[in-house]
Amino acid sequence: MPAKYFEIRWHGRAGQGAKSASQLLAESVLEFGKYAQAFPEYGAERSGAPMKAFNRVSDEKILIHSSVENPDVVVVFDDTLLSPSVVQGLSEDGTLIVNTTKGEDLVRAKTKFCGKVCVIDATDIALQEIKRGIPNTVMLGAVAKTTGILSLEAVQRKVRLMFEKKLTPEAVEANIRAVQRGYEEVSCSG
């Protein structure tokens, strides 16, 4: 059979950094000898609008250039986006990772998803560490821990590389801590 790709779908609101997170993930897995794609779904672009981004990861060159319909993992950046449609195509063997303060029960109630659910209070962690409610680096840490497709160190190295040109050294370190806390504080069940 042709290679089975590991696929991720990210749901966020424009401005929350889901697109950057998907790109960072692609860059991070490359150095482990894995091929990766990252691509966003573009619509009318405006801050706060629901958006999606996607990843494919594989040990072999990735041939497919179509959208991701049956992800292995769904990542939700904002619990106001939760509905059965965010888990569309996600099998019961898959994983749903959500940024929420309200816990697993709310996630299951809103999505009707019976598989593995992981929750992380990413916005509060982001506010504490980077002083802004942009949850993407925390979520990357949570994705690294939950999926095992990339290491904590690799994500932190890429975050440093990506941010050191744009941010102050303090802000870069804050983002590195945000990744760490996402990795350590995500909790899963099911």
């Binding site: 490359l30 091929y35 990766a36 691509f39």
Partner: protein, 393 residues
Amino acid sequence: MMEKVAQMIAVTGAQAVAHAMRQIEPDVVAAYPITPQTPIVEYFAKFVADGVVKTEMIPVESEHSAMSAVVGAAAAGARAMTATSANGLALMHEIVYIAASTRLPVVMPVVNRALSGPINIHCDHSDTMAERDSGWIQFYVEDAQEAYDLTILSVRLAEHEHVRLPVMVNQDGFIISHGVEPVSFLPDDVVKKFVGELKPIYPLLDTEHPVTYGPLDLYDYYFEHKRQQIEAMKNVEKVFPEVAQEFFKISGRKYSFVEPYKLDDAEHVMVALGSTNGTVKYTVDKMREEGCKVGLLKIWMFRPFPKDEIQRYLTGRKSVVVLDRSASFGAEAPLYEAVKSSLYESASRPLLSSFIYGLGGRGIAIEDVEEAFEKSISGELVTDYEYYLGLRE
């Protein structure tokens, strides 16, 4: 030669091409810097602003002016480039035709996006198909690596003394231009040595040998000049394999007019342009596991159209499905029409069918490709009937 992925860099198709342009370092780049422009010139403008390249960057007030500036610069003897997309290319059309007629070796990466209206920013091939008779060489690429490679290769093809024609390197909008995937970059010095220095022919700025560009050329000589252009296009058949061989030496990556995929024993073949070829390859692998003798003929070069390769690879097959990502209203879709006419003289013609898909960015999934193959294998398709994939009735 397989690259080690750990040494590759994850970039978008637009970034890959911007880096090719950085390494080519043309003398002049002219661009209209707002929509429907692509991120290619945005990245390249940054290289200019940061002093990474010495290129003269000319921001202009429209795409029509962008191509006009490029034509002027190229006629003066400069290596000139621009990039565009969709309605920007449509607005350029008049000067696109003039660039080819004037035999100027301009290389232009194009991001394929639907033409308005209604307004749509997503991928299809209607923009470059509208330029298929403009006299430009046209490549369509499957992924970001090919976009990078063929941009570099095209400089040598365009500037070859027996060609001297402009080249469009077309990549699928958003799917490739904004999608991140690993690309293997060549070292700067290797690219610079490969493209070399432009050897101007009849440059305007050579005042010792004054020449005229774009004069009045009526029924006395216009026809002869068009004939020269036709002959130059024919020369691509001979020159392109030579340039591709030299590119292979520096990169280990082989390019040709077409890429046959699992065709040796294939009875049923699909023909396509652009990024969809990857999805078809995956589907071919999947269907072969199920015992179907299917294959793919990817078209890299659409102009000049590689008639000999089409005949060589498609003659004698049971069926051929041609996928088009653009329509020709009131006539056959562009790729289908070209494939069909190439097979007219063939002794053993396959059952041919035409599928239009993906207009305005409508997705194409493995299931869609399977559907087209299955209909073709079952023999239920009618030649010359236009079928659609992923369309609601």
